[in-house]
């Protein structure tokens, strides 16, 4: 556990990718096999089921620390992380046990304790706490609560594993994807190109594109490129192998059960096929047509996270799949074939199916780049986020790569608003006021309509923070009312009607685009402007 804790600390503190990579590679070289497997599992978001809840953890920590509950809560609010708060507040260990258990042994304890009574759990946890140093405590708590955000991307871990095992990064990425149980998987099996026959549901790592910064003329002749809409849904992968159907999201979540309207694919798709595409909401009115029309993302949102799907929700928010690419054909990985060939095969496969729930993402025909600039302007009305540009001879790569694929998203919607409330951030911003609420004007009134907490530089945050501290009007718990003076341009990707919000609208991905120091609070947009955007672009 000590070496795992040291790794977590190093990864969390270090600001240089190379240092992180080296720390990971060192760890994977030296750690025992079972620890390596659990490390991969934890860093890729797999963890054992919680055996205690946060309330129990908090109560036991309070008991040991002897602090009043309100002070514990104040501390938590400042630190922003429960595992860390508890690690900081526990009394110092009386004797540090240097022969700590290994990571996997501790996780096995967790698994065994799942069926134990509360008292045994309490004895176990408090005893562990009392013989650990701060770092081990923190990591131990994190293992219990989950949510390890330690500043390491999946890609970096894949790189480190590739370095240590002398395998290609794409083989590793495939090996650690999908469903596998860390308790019974060996490290060798995990990092060898695991065979699909053992795990028919195994998805391929997604190929992701970078945002194109300017007009694509620099990309060369238009005939080398294929343009498509960048549909506004959830990127997904549909797999049919061994007569079974699997639907994965880009977040590597298996979502097969959530989309019953796609289960017919199990019957109609040929075996040994993997299709990359976008799960989108379907406009109800187009259900009877041959080709469906995608609806706004807000509609799809009512389906995400919903494991039980009622008849009503199926009728209100039907889902379809827009196919982008073919990754496996007749049981063979075809990611190394050129895009044009893959697309031809995909078209053939889809044409045999008579369904209006799966359709090929249409290629947009164009002969000049300038033409595409104009086409892109229609994105929003198509419920798309912009365009995708793919080199026709490109292979299907792993992860986010530049060169062959580009996304060319449309400019966001914007509105100028004034900041009226501020709240301290969490985690890395726990000392600064970084979470703001913004309002538009409605006659004499200011109407709050969104929160935003990203988009400014650290320097700007510090500046706004200083303003908040000097210009607080009132305090409601952690929230400060501030003088309505600072104007920001709020950018967002979508807008929908909402009964829960005072303003009547909810924004998608709101963030601060620019600090409009040139604008006075009198010059901000009005509620009317906001509602106009809703009627133009809302669902």
């Amino acid at each position: 556990m000590k070496s795992f804790a040291a790794l977590v600390v190093k990864l969390g503190d270090s600001s240089k990718t190379n240092d992180k990579l080296e720390a990971l590679a060192n760890y994977f070289t030296l750690a025992p096999d079972s620890d390596r497997v659990w490390t991969v599992a934890i860093f890729s978001g797999r963890r054992p089921k919680r055996f205690i809840n946060t309330r129990q953890m908090t109560d036991w920590a309070l008991e040991l620390s002897g602090l009043p509950r309100w002070l514990f809560e104040e501390s938590y609010h400042t630190v922003g992380d429960l595992a860390e708060t508890i690690a900081l507040l526990l009394p110092a260990a009386s004797i540090i046990n240097n022969n700590e258990q290994s990571l996997s042994a501790i996780i096995n304890n967790f698994i065994e304790l799942q069926t134990a009574d509360d008292n045994s759990k309490k004895i176990y946890v408090t005893q562990q706490w009392l013989q650990m140093d701060y770092h081990s405590r923190f990591v131990f708590n994190k293992l219990i609560t989950g949510g390890f955000r330690i500043g390491v991307s999946q890609q970096l871990m894949v790189k480190a594993l590739a370095k240590v095992t002398l395998q290609s990064a794409s083989a590793i990425a495939f090996g650690i994807s999908g469903r596998w149980d860390p308790a019974v998987t060996s490290f060798a099996r995990l990092t060898s190109s695991a065979s699909v026959s053992e795990d028919p549901g195994k998805p391929y790592p997604f190929y992701l594109a970078h945002q194109l910064a300017e007009i694509p003329e620099a990309l060369g002749p238009t005939e080398d490129w294929q343009a498509e809409w960048k549909w506004d849904g959830i990127r997904g992968q549909i797999i049919k192998r061994q007569d079974q159907l699997f639907i994965w999201s880009r977040g590597e979540e298996l979502m097969t059960d959530r989309f019953p309207e796609l289960h017919f694919l199990q019957r109609v798709l040929p075996d040994g096929v993997v299709i990359d595409g976008e799960l989108v909401a379907v406009d109800n009115r187009s259900l009877s047509e041959k080709i469906f029309t995608p609806a706004a993302f807000a509609v799809l949102q009512t389906r995400i996270g919903r494991k039980q799907v009622s008849k009503k929700i199926l009728a209100d928010a039907p889902v379809g799949f827009i196919a982008y690419d073919l990754l496996e054909d007749a049981g063979k990985d075809c990611r190394n074939h050129p895009l044009s060939a893959r697309r031809r095969r995909l078209e053939e496969i889809l044409s045999t199916m008579d369904s209006n729930r799966i359709q090929l993402s249409p290629a947009i025909s164009f002969s000049h780049w300038q033409e595409l600039v104009d086409i892109r302007k229609q994105s929003r009305s198509m419920h798309s986020e912009g365009l995708m540009l793919k080199r026709k001879d490109s292979i299907y790569q792993v992860g986010r790569k530049t060169g062959d694929w580009w996304k060319w998203k449309i400019d966001p919607l914007t509105i100028d608003a004034v900041m009226i409330y501020a709240q301290k951030g969490h985690g890395r911003r726990s000392n600064l006021y970084t979470d703001y609420t913004f309002a538009v004007r409605d006659g004499e009134r200011l109407v709050p309509f969104t929160k935003a907490y990203s988009g400014l530089t650290d320097k700007e945050f510090a500046e706004v923070d200083a303003f908040v501290k000097r210009n607080s009007l009132e305090k409601f718990g952690p929230v400060r009312t501030v003088k309505p003076e600072l104007v920001f341009e709020i950018a967002f990707e979508g807008i929908a009607a909402s009964k829960r919000h005072k303003s009547g609208v909810a924004l998608r991905f709101p963030r601060m685009n620019r600090w409009r120091k040139d604008k006075k609070p009198e010059e901000i947009n009005t509620l009317e402007d906001l509602l106009a955007l809703l009627s133009l672009y809302g669902q």
């Binding site: 501390s75 400042t78 900081l88 890395r428 911003r429």
Partner: protein
């Protein structure tokens, strides 16, 4: 009327007609220490400790300044005033103000651990204590400084063996000198950013002995700096100034580094929890040792600390709004560092 009032301009003693660390210009100001949130320009007359002289003159320009030593009482309009070591930075003092039965102690900033430079903190019995509580939450509990020094030394040596120089970001007055002392035993060449170098000079003009540190200027080469120790103010984090240093590892040294999120926000390689402020246990210990009947809290987590004193220690306590620190952000030096020449 109580002996000390909390006014628009700062803490005021009407009987003696003087202010303590006022944030607006006044006739007579007693200054606890030279950090910029405590020592502000524009007042007619200043009173402070001998060891603050150099820094105050550097920062406030030509001022009318009287200096005294610790435990040397002075009568101002019949009010007894004395300074007592606060242990925060060199010259930092707590101010004791006494008239008849009322004894006030204004702590300024302080820490209980003796850093060997600032003078060891001494308890002062009082009836009314105005205490800072920059780190007034129990999550802020420091490791002993010797442990930290060892970690800092070890890390510096590691970097040296990797042919990297080691940069420590620390307030140029106080923390910087503490780090210089802590690392001097390594006998690795030490260099300073202009702001730190200026502070060193001011302290040396006061007769304070400091380890040898070179000024980084236009003539300093990367070669010279390779595997050296460099001390720079926090305001230098992420600035182009750092480019002249070549391959390096950077550390932030501050009490705020206790919280992981703050460490990450700094975008440095390492955070050392080295503070010149009292941690939570020290704050409680200080209040207990000075044994006031009334405790006013300023700087930082004032509400939490005073509530704790009230509810858990059964002590009369109130949070006071001042312009010391900037709420939870210890900005002390950063402002003056920004204007200091590189």
């Amino acid at each position: 009327m109580s002996l000390i009032q909390f006014t628009e301009k700062g803490l005021y003693c009407a009987k003696g007609d003087f202010y303590i660390d006022p944030w607006r210009p006044v006739d007579r100001a007693i200054i606890t220490h030279a950090h910029s949130d405590h020592a502000r320009p524009g007042s007619k007359r200043y009173l402070s400790h001998h060891l603050s002289k150099g820094m105050l003159q550097q920062r406030l320009g030509t001022i009318s300044l009287q200096t005294i030593g610790w435990n040397e009482p002075l009568a101002i309009h019949g009010v007894k005033v004395s300074l007592h070591p606060a242990g925060h930075i060199i010259g930092s003092s707590m101010v004791r103000v006494a008239y008849k039965d009322e004894v006030w102690l204004i702590t300024g900033d302080y820490k209980l651990e003796d850093d060997g430079l600032s003078g060891a903190w001494e308890p002062v019995l009082c009836t009314h204590m105005v205490t800072e509580c920059t780190f007034g939450l129990p999550v802020y509990t420091w490791q002993p400084q010797q442990d930290l020094y060892r970690q800092m030394q070890q890390w510096t040596l590691e970097n040296q063996s990797n042919k990297q120089c080691t940069v420590f970001f620390a307030y140029s007055l106080g923390k910087a000198q503490r780090i210089m002392h802590a690392l001097a035993p390594l006998q690795i060449p030490m260099y300073a950013h202009g702001a730190v170098y200026n502070a060193n000079e001011a302290l040396q003009s006061n007769g304070i002995a400091l380890p040898q540190v070179k000024h980084i200027d236009a003539h300093t080469t990367k070669k010279e700096l390779a595997s050296a120790i460099i001390i720079a103010p926090p305001s230098a984090v992420g600035t182009p100034w750092l480019r002249r240093l070549g391959d390096r590892q950077e550390a932030a040294c501050s009490g705020w580094m206790q919280v992981r999120g703050n460490r990450r926000r700094q975008h440095v390689d390492k955070g050392f929890v080295l503070s010149d402020h009292a941690d939570w246990p020290s704050l409680l210990q200080a209040v207990e040792a000075c044994n006031p009947t009334h405790a006013y809290t300023t700087h930082g987590f004032t509400e939490s600390f005073s509530r704790y004193l009230r509810e858990e220690k059964k002590l009369w306590s109130e949070a006071v709004k001042t312009q010391f620190g900037t709420e939870e952000d210890d900005q002390h030096i950063t402002e003056s560092d920004k204007t200091a020449a590189i």
